[in-house]
Amino acid sequence: MKNDLRVLRAQRGWSQGDLADALGVSRQSVNALETGKFDPSLPLAFRIARLFGKRVDEIFDDELGGYVKAAE
């Protein structure tokens, strides 16, 4: 899943370790999330969104937006 974590983190001048500490996860987790190797659980996605003051869907993009629109 695509996400803006890396950009949001850089905007705040945080290292991956800083973000990991703020979220209470390992640095490897942050790296895996940023590179799209791992999708977070809903609770972690909400923690991330809350930390950056955004909605989950403003940070994560499942790239299926077109299908949702087509179904409407």
Binding site: R6, V7, A10, Q11, S15, Q16, G17, V25, S26, R27, Q28, S29, N31, A32, L33, K37, F38, D39, P40, S41, L44
Partner: protein, 216 residues
């Protein structure tokens, strides 16, 4: 992404946790050598008996094990020196505190049981007790292995552990099935069943190098 931010991202990269192919090749060779020394020593002691009694043999094997653990930790040490390493996380620390004493107890009990069985040739209930003794600390080691994903509170790490356990279980069942029939038809030398756990551990280690299973 704004251009100034793009510049920031490029100018201030994360300190690299990637240690390079040369490092991994050397480390892999070191691990293989340490493992071969460990397995070789254990096998030689079982075949020929250990020098100076079972306790000396046990201590030698413990020394080999310590060397193996040391080599296994080198990447983490190097990362820590570069400022990208992390302290061992609590669930893994707890795992080590359970697993290592169990393995040390296993080595000591194995040496003691093998030498006692050879010298005293026990029978009846005592023979059962002597034979089962080395497996008891291994049960605790296996318990430690399966408590790790239960206690791991980082969902990415837990996913990686569970994925590697699933791969290892599948590979062990496949290898065991094939080897079992080869054994039954007398094509290969008889295999001891206790090899299942070490084989599972090797498969698990290999599976840790695989990426997580792709999603949808």
């Amino acid at each position: 992404m704004s251009s100034s931010l793009e510049t920031t991202l490029h100018e201030a990269p994360e300190p690299s946790a990637n240690l390079g192919a040369g490092f991994w090749a050397a480390w892999g060779a070191g691990m293989a050598a340490a493992f071969a020394a460990f397995a070789g020593a254990l096998y030689a002691f079982m075949l020929f008996g250990s020098p100076g009694g079972p306790m000396v043999g046990g201590l030698i094997v413990i020394a080999f094990t310590s060397a193996f653990i040391y080599v296994a930790n080198i990447p983490q040490q190097v990362r820590r020196k570069r400022g990208v390493g992390e302290r061992m996380r609590e669930p893994y620390r707890r795992y080590m505190r359970r697993f290592l004493p169990a393995m040390f107890a296993y080595v000591i009990l194995l040496m003691a049981a093998v030498s006692y069985a050879k010298e005293a040739e026990p029978a009846g209930v005592l023979a059962w007790l002597v034979a089962i003794a080395p497996s008891i600390p291994l049960i605790f080691a296996i318990r430690a292995v399966f408590l790790l994903p239960r206690e791991e509170n980082d969902e990415y790490q837990r996913a990686r552990i569970n994925s590697s356990y699933a791969w290892a279980t599948g590979a062990t069942l496949m290898a065991g099935t094939v080897a079992g029939f080869l054994d039954m038809f007398g094509v290969i030398p008889h295999l001891e069943l206790w090899i299942a756990f070490p084989a599972w551990a090797v498969f698990m280690g290999l599976a840790r190098c695989l990426p997580l299973a792709s999603k949808q």
